[in-house]
């Protein structure tokens, strides 16, 4: 059987996100240098690396929070670099933030409804007269928003101000707000930060369902190795603004340069060190990274 007739493996399919040669300088300081990132549709892709390695800068460039100094970003083959942030969002890129950034003075439901903004189209004057079209759209949006709140497990907080939510619920609400409009690509910036192991496990489950039930491709920055190893199809390691390694979780665990970056130059038992790191909770790995940076 000729190879072309086979269904292509997911890694070989046209990438959903293709970042090439991405660089960002702040003044004379290069935050990221020549970063490549290829994310297959329907995958969960983790970006890991020591603190200050430039992971969030990559996210900021993709979501157009900042404009890259050079390089290209393609979503579904279409250039999205250089577009204003709200246009990038309309192309189907949604994100969360390292320090949760909800609209604190709005309720859970309102936060999610703002997330649904780009899916609504009825103009304001129809809202003034509460036309049937407006009522229909508004009712559908609320229903959808409630369904997403339910999906994320925070439906009971629909009427609570975001600032009053517990930390874990804030993270979940932020994810709900990001996915309600049905993006193609979801960027999660340290979603498990500050979570205990049980909450982390719940989060892993939520990310799995986002991919399986909503069909959204996920890129996440994460320090909790347990979370990363549990859900990532592929991992990109960034260190000092550049890509250090890229591969499957197994490949990354066996990669010497990664182990060096994470655990110093203790090369005698690399496999053991990696295994220990992988089985350890994020805190351990983080300490290791900090030790290297210091």
């Amino acid at each position: 059987m000729p190879e072309t007739s086979l269904p292509p493996p997911s890694s070989a399919a046209a990438p959903l996100l293709e970042v090439r040669g991405l660089s960002k300088r702040f003044g004379g300081v290069a935050a990221i240098r020549d970063v490549d990132l290829t994310v297959a549709p329907g995958s969960v892709h983790a970006v890991i690396g020591p603190n200050g390695a430039g992971k969030t800068s990559v996210f900021n460039c993709i979501s157009s929070f900042v404009q890259p100094t050079s390089g290209t970003i393609r979503l579904d083959g279409e250039r999205i670099d250089g577009l204003p942030a709200h246009v990038v969002a309309r192309h189907g890129v949604a994100r969360t933030y390292q320090n949760v950034r909800l609209f604190p003075g709005m309720t859970g439901l309102e936060n999610v409804l703002v997330g649904a903004h780009r899916t609504l189209s009825v103009p304001g004057w129809q809202a003034v007269f509460a036309t049937p079209r407006f009522r229909r759209e508004e009712a559908a949006a609320r229903e959808k928003a409630m369904a997403i709140l339910e999906f994320a497990g925070v439906a009971h907080h629909a009427g609570t101000l975001a600032r009053h939510l517990a930390y874990g619920d804030q993270r979940r609400l932020e994810i709900a707000r990001a996915v309600v409009a049905g993006p193609k690509l979801l960027l999660l910036d340290e979603p498990a930060a500050g979570m205990n192991p049980a909450e982390g496990a719940g989060l892993v489950e939520l990310i799995r369902r986002i991919r399986a039930e909503l069909g959204i491709t996920v890129v996440l920055i994460e320090h909790h190795m347990r979370v990363v190893m549990a859900i990532a199809d592929r991992i990109t390691v960034i260190d000092r603004g550049a890509v250090l390694a890229e591969g499957t979780p197994a490949e990354i665990q066996a990669d010497d340069s990664v182990i060096a970056a994470y655990l110093g130059t203790r090369r005698d038992t690399p496999a053991e060190a990696a295994a220990e790191d992988a089985s350890d909770a994020g805190a351990g790995a983080k300490t290791g990274m900090k030790a290297v940076r210091a």
Partner: protein
Amino acid sequence: MSFNVVTSSFRVVRREREAGAEALRIGLIAGVAAVLFCLIGAYVALDKRDVVEGVASFAAVALAAIALVAGYTSAATANRQGRTPRRAVLLAGGAGLAVGACLALMVLATTNLGIRTILVAASPALVRALTFGTTAGSSGQIFLLLAAGFGLGAIGGALATLVPERLRRAIIRGVFVVIFAGLFRDVFFSIASNLPGGVDRMIYGSAGIRLWPAILLFAAVVAWTILRAAAGKPSAARTGGRSKLSIVLLVATVLVLPLITSDFVAQVAMLVALYMLMGMGLNIELGLAGLVDLGFVAFFAVGAYTVALLCSNGPLAIADVSFWVALPVAIVLAAVSGLVFGLPVLRVRGDYLAMATLGLGEIVRVLVLSDALAPVLGGSQGIIEIDRPVLAGISLNTPAELYYLALILAGAVAFISWRLQHARIGRAWLAIREDEDVAQALGIDPVASKLVAYSVGAAFAGAAGAVFAVLVGSVFPHSFQLLVSINVLAILVIGGLGSLPGVLVGAMVLIGLPELLREFGEFRYLFYGVALVAMMHIRPEGLWPAESTKREMADA
């Protein structure tokens, strides 16, 4: 209770001190305040108006209040430091004595040193008023002042320590109600004049409330407050919510007020409604979208001048159409100018936006005043002879009729705001206010959304300007000063940002009260300022905050 909060602000800045020294300090601060109050001429100005006819002028009440608060505060401090109530009251009397001493020194200086050449307010009239009508120069009057100071301070102290909490609350409320009733004699008198049998003359004298009705009113309020507290009903202030009754009362007052009062009060109400209209417009910009707009008056001017040009009989008129045709034109023109001006200024954020819009407001004022545009807009001569609106053959002439016109417009604008607030665009505004970057990352075009907010706000201001033009019957550039923008801004802050009922309450307090107290001249701005500062300390969230603000403040 707000009273305690005022006194507590003294507490913040001072270290723990010996109660006696503290009483002296408070007394001296209050004394200096009292002296300043007299020497800037406020006393004489406020002395013209009685709170209780023939018994206490407003000035006397204000001065007494200073001594009372000094006594209250020092007694409360002493109480906290574990002094016995008797000692606390004594200390409070001491604080009051200090106030009296300061005033006595001032009187002595006035009569003996001739400081009048420097301070014009230090007049014989002031001395006469302060010394209870006795002739100048006797030592008896000095003694009287000191005794009065001591007595008032002690009463304040007794109120703070000896009187149980519930009764204290009732007494303070009773005093405030009586002062309120006396201060706004004009309003209540004109309402009472609708009643048969000369009730109005029985209650009110020519300058204030009569003594016996005042005592009855005080007793009634005290009894009512105590009975309510005894019945276990939490007061609205304590629950933080508004009872349905207060809303009904407010709406009823707003609807019938101009009908049952004098033309003067109706005119004030008209002005309040006008500012409400503007307040609702700025509420969209500032309350919802978070745009600090100090050039709001520009769109008010656009609306006013549009109607003036279209409805005037004067030489500058470019058309002579009815108000009902001119109104929509004015609104549309204001909205369009909002779009045009908004494009350049809305790309900047925060403080810079405030500066940019401030410049814009000034540009419009200078333009209408300029000689270049004088052939069109009349320059400083303005545009006169603007026709009144005619509805079903009746010309709307009286303040009450125009009040209802403004009120209906304000109602419509409130309705539109409310609907927009709970739709896609309103949520986008709130999101931009809360976190512009995040809102943008969710697909909201910040510039476009702000432009809509700016334009809608401008349209509402244009409507207010249109009503203003027919209300006054003429427009002049000096009506469109920065102060108008600042007033509207203050209305929102005082009422509660983003809150529609807050706009109503804010306009009543900031526009209505100063107008009703007009006879106090420039001194009303003094109270305006004091009220603003006190407000920011006591209720930074506004008098009637938006639901979300209330929740978050309660939490903080």
